[in-house]
Subunit: 411 residues, 2 copies
Amino acid sequence: MPETPFWTQDSLEDIVSARSKIMGAGVWAAARPDDRPVISFSGGLPDVPSLPSEELLRATRTVLDRERREALQYGGTFGAQPLRDAIAERSSGIEGLPLTDEHVIVTSGAAHGIGIACEALLDPGDTVLVESPTFPGSLRTIHSFGATVEAVPMDEDGIRVDLVEEALNRLADEGRQAKLLYLIPTHQNPEGSTLPLDRREKLLELARDHRILLLEDDAYGELWFGDEPPPSLFSLSGGELAIKVLTFSKIIATGLRLGWNLAPPTLINRMAALRYDMGSSPYLGRTVAEMIRNGDLDRHVERLRAIYRRKLERLCDALDEHCGDYISYQRPGGGFFVWVGLRPGLSALEVQRVANEKAVIIGAGPHFFADSNVTQHLRLAFSYTPVEEIEEGVHRLGEALREVAATSAVK
Amino acid sequence: MPETPFWTQDSLEDIVSARSKIMGAGVWAAARPDDRPVISFSGGLPDVPSLPSEELLRATRTVLDRERREALQYGGTFGAQPLRDAIAERSSGIEGLPLTDEHVIVTSGAAHGIGIACEALLDPGDTVLVESPTFPGSLRTIHSFGATVEAVPMDEDGIRVDLVEEALNRLADEGRQAKLLYLIPTHQNPEGSTLPLDRREKLLELARDHRILLLEDDAYGELWFGDEPPPSLFSLSGGELAIKVLTFSKIIATGLRLGWNLAPPTLINRMAALRYDMGSSPYLGRTVAEMIRNGDLDRHVERLRAIYRRKLERLCDALDEHCGDYISYQRPGGGFFVWVGLRPGLSALEVQRVANEKAVIIGAGPHFFADSNVTQHLRLAFSYTPVEEIEEGVHRLGEALREVAATSAVK
């Protein structure tokens, strides 16, 4: 093979698409494994010991025995029919709406579900409102379609709906119109907040009046630990005004790459019509449909709620004991994350660096902001950390906070 | 739920993307099952009895036992590392090049592989050269990105490279530049032809001189029945000038939705950088990597060659016996298809209709042409039809041909 490649990074610039120019050559890669025995509160990854491999293997065997031909052939752009049916039935209960397969498209995970919504709706120059802070992966996807992102601040209850209205009115004055509002209203990533019912209803009024679609990311919705969260925006609008993006990643395994979108059938069709991949795997889809039908999924979700509730309690107890002087936080009702506010004068990036030296990995707040309105926060994911390591991890974080506070005081 | 939806097909037109407007609301759906006991030569589907479900289940069990944690977690945008490594090693042998994982991106099947190549390269108004006839699914993908398709005719040896040169020169005269040439050089769909070595070399010269990339669809390349086909365009260019699109669909199962692209590492990066789906399933990827490592895949490919060789022989014998007066064809060296030319005066669509009445399903030629240069052909897929039904199916096709010939003579 030649020493000098014909197509180099430079010469490729002449022929790649506008979208590729926006994204460049950098690949969003998973963090490199740390060789030290680190304690990680970093990624939004599920608990490892509970990953349901036995249930998966059993469902695979059943599907290959019973419907081998269908599982191993093309399943269509909407996804495997038994999975669409099983999702429609299960979601009808959760949403309190008479949903059918026409409301369901099977996706290759929530990131893919957000992507196909963007594909169907966004052109370069379009405006998308987003919560700030939010999940950076989704910002990246929205940016890749050339859309302009307008960040709307949040408070401890989630997105400030009054500021959404202000933004929409300001855009209207400028002759612009937002197409989408992207938000994670339940167990938000990174804030952990859940939008109260009255704000949800006000948001739907705005969506109707301004004719914008809500892109409702609900990756964590089923993982609540206390009171059940309010109905989704999709549910409250009678399935009319939102594309609700869901995934089996957090309730089965991220490694499946399988999820689903709920939306009005007209929109489901538009998303399906753009898929060039011949649909998500019917082999995986039928396996998961079997796990829904035989009750394994619901049993597993119950188990996960107990596991994550316990991890969250352990984390909060440890934070109160070891870090109380330096931080404040609001205990989330579900999900994977605690959003920790730092005492004035403490730098999130500095705390992250010192904690890293002590072999504790945490997420720094600035990473999650689409705008420049960065505040001093840490994101602690409690989902992945083995429960017996949580206290030691937080203890080390406390040491890091003390060190940074001492240095900051000197300065 | 409301009687009148808020977002109707009409009102959606105001907010959908340009790409969605091109594609409309129509979804490319699998053909409805025919309730009659039909014999189908229609789809490019693998043989059913040989679908390797035992091998899949065994590999799944091994992977869940051995690497459960990695298989059930995110695997990155390039695909599961063990699969990239296994593909690189296996492809190094096939291509005769020292390939590494950097030349490999795991995709969700060949249709997805073609799609991500288009995403990375095409903007609205770009020009793509294609063989004519070709696989309509790929035309649909290329069109969806707003590209203009220029069809280049074929003869019995595949694409007319002299006409490729003519087209490139004409485009240059018009101040235009094609970005891609999409082709299926080996066991072409629908023609079954394989491009000879000298044409491949000439094509690579053109690609180098005109700085266009070859998008080499090789879904059927390994399924040869006699002589091994010439090296791929990717191989002949030292891995420099082609994106080679491959899939496990035809050599394991279409229901997996798993494939891979081989390309220069710079281009692999650009494709990975645009993926918003967090990569194809590492769970499936590691399962297939295990089937490569334990030898199951290579054994299965050997088995498939024998199965399809036998089906092709059966088909050709039957065509000679029952249809010889009305048709001509060239026996393909591999793949799934025989492209049948009809005697002048016979209409492909009419033959298709009458055959359908006799419960034989065939593909009509006009479906496969990007231009108006439609000739009178049928596409017979021999891959899916049970071997014991082939003769009866062709017998009925012969009756249909006789009927249409009699009617045509009367007219």
